[in-house]
Symmetry: C2
Subunit: 200 residues, 2 copies
């Protein structure tokens, strides 16, 4: 039995649809918004509408952007011979923060997952193939899906697809995270670190 | 260094202003919204705008409502001789869920907190006094602020204010929570449970 007005109830329901936001948190957020000055709530509503209305996928790399091609694809100073393949648009930011990569990106917007009924045609893979066929400058594709089972499977699938075309396909190194301790690292990671050991 | 478009950056900033939502969660929510069909994001934006535009405070009990007086104050079947004083509008729902209370409410929208520079004039206390002076039917005021130091102090302040007017002032019982275990209950709660023991 709820005594919230239908409008408040609707706001709570909409907020609770966000990932990681349960009914209780949604209530807290809703009441926070209702107790704020009107311009604060309006700012959030407008930010959602504008971001949604004006961002689109870059026709080259499928990254979210408000221009097409996106600033990264349009930047002549970046290395156009390397494409880093990522699962999601937010991973682009993670890569950029490292300042260790200066090539282009390709965002898949998902990974192949037979369990969730997501096949190669449901992610932006076809776009990558078309892009590679059209652009002869590309010499290396770096596969940087998350090291989850689905991510690994997707990487393998793409690698098999691209190898015959003679493009160099690499993937991110697996091993110990910086600041980690051997004692606390899981067996799989430590095993990969041993396997991928490098001469010093 | 961020590579998000300014609109996405703005959406993340606005989301991060919500309570309990950090930069990282805000990013996750923003990308979730951007990856959804447009009508989903629009539904959230509209829910915020409508709830904000059309809910107001009930002129009697200061509860958030889309009508004035609110459905509870307007309900002739409720006990108009009892007013339960609450800290926040979401506490009304908590009280209603119990089905144990059938009187009216008064929402303070805050508690007295000298440390946060919130005095009696900053909460809806004056409205309660005016209401009690205008309405002679009220026989009991139940103080139901949270059992925090600020809540306790506010209860005490209100009790001292109302006692001279000859209104019965009560407060919620303190004691063991249902399903709790003596061994795990803190000393203060157990002390209050002993003090408030009742004959069986």
């Amino acid at each position: 039995m709820s005594v919230f007005s239908p409008l408040v109830e609707n706001l709570i329901t909409e907020l609770a649809k966000l990932p990681g936001i349960g009914k209780k948190t949604a209530q807290r957020l809703a009441f926070h918004l209702l107790e704020q000055p009107p311009e604060r709530a309006e700012a959030l509503a407008q930010a959602i509408q504008e971001a949604k209305a004006k961002t689109e996928l870059c026709s080259l790399c499928c990254n979210l952007s408000d221009s097409d091609p996106c600033p990264i694809c349009a930047d002549p100073k970046r290395d156009h011979s390397t494409i880093c393949v990522l699962e999601s648009a937010k991973d682009v930011n993670a890569m950029e923060r490292t300042s260790a990569y200066h090539g282009l990106y390709h965002v898949l917007h998902g990974v192949i997952s037979p369990l969730k009924n997501i096949g190669p045609e449901d992610i932006k893979l076809q776009e990558l193939i078309v892009r590679l066929q059209a652009d002869e400058k590309v010499q290396e594709v770096i596969l940087a899906c998350n090291p989850s089972p689905e991510g690994e499977a997707t990487s393998l699938y793409i690698a098999r697809l691209l190898k015959p075309a003679g493009i160099k396909v690499t993937r991110l190194a697996s091993g110990l995270p910086a600041g980690g301790e051997l004692d606390f690292v899981d067996e799989l990671t430590l095993g990969q670190a041993i396997e991928g050991r490098r001469e010093v």
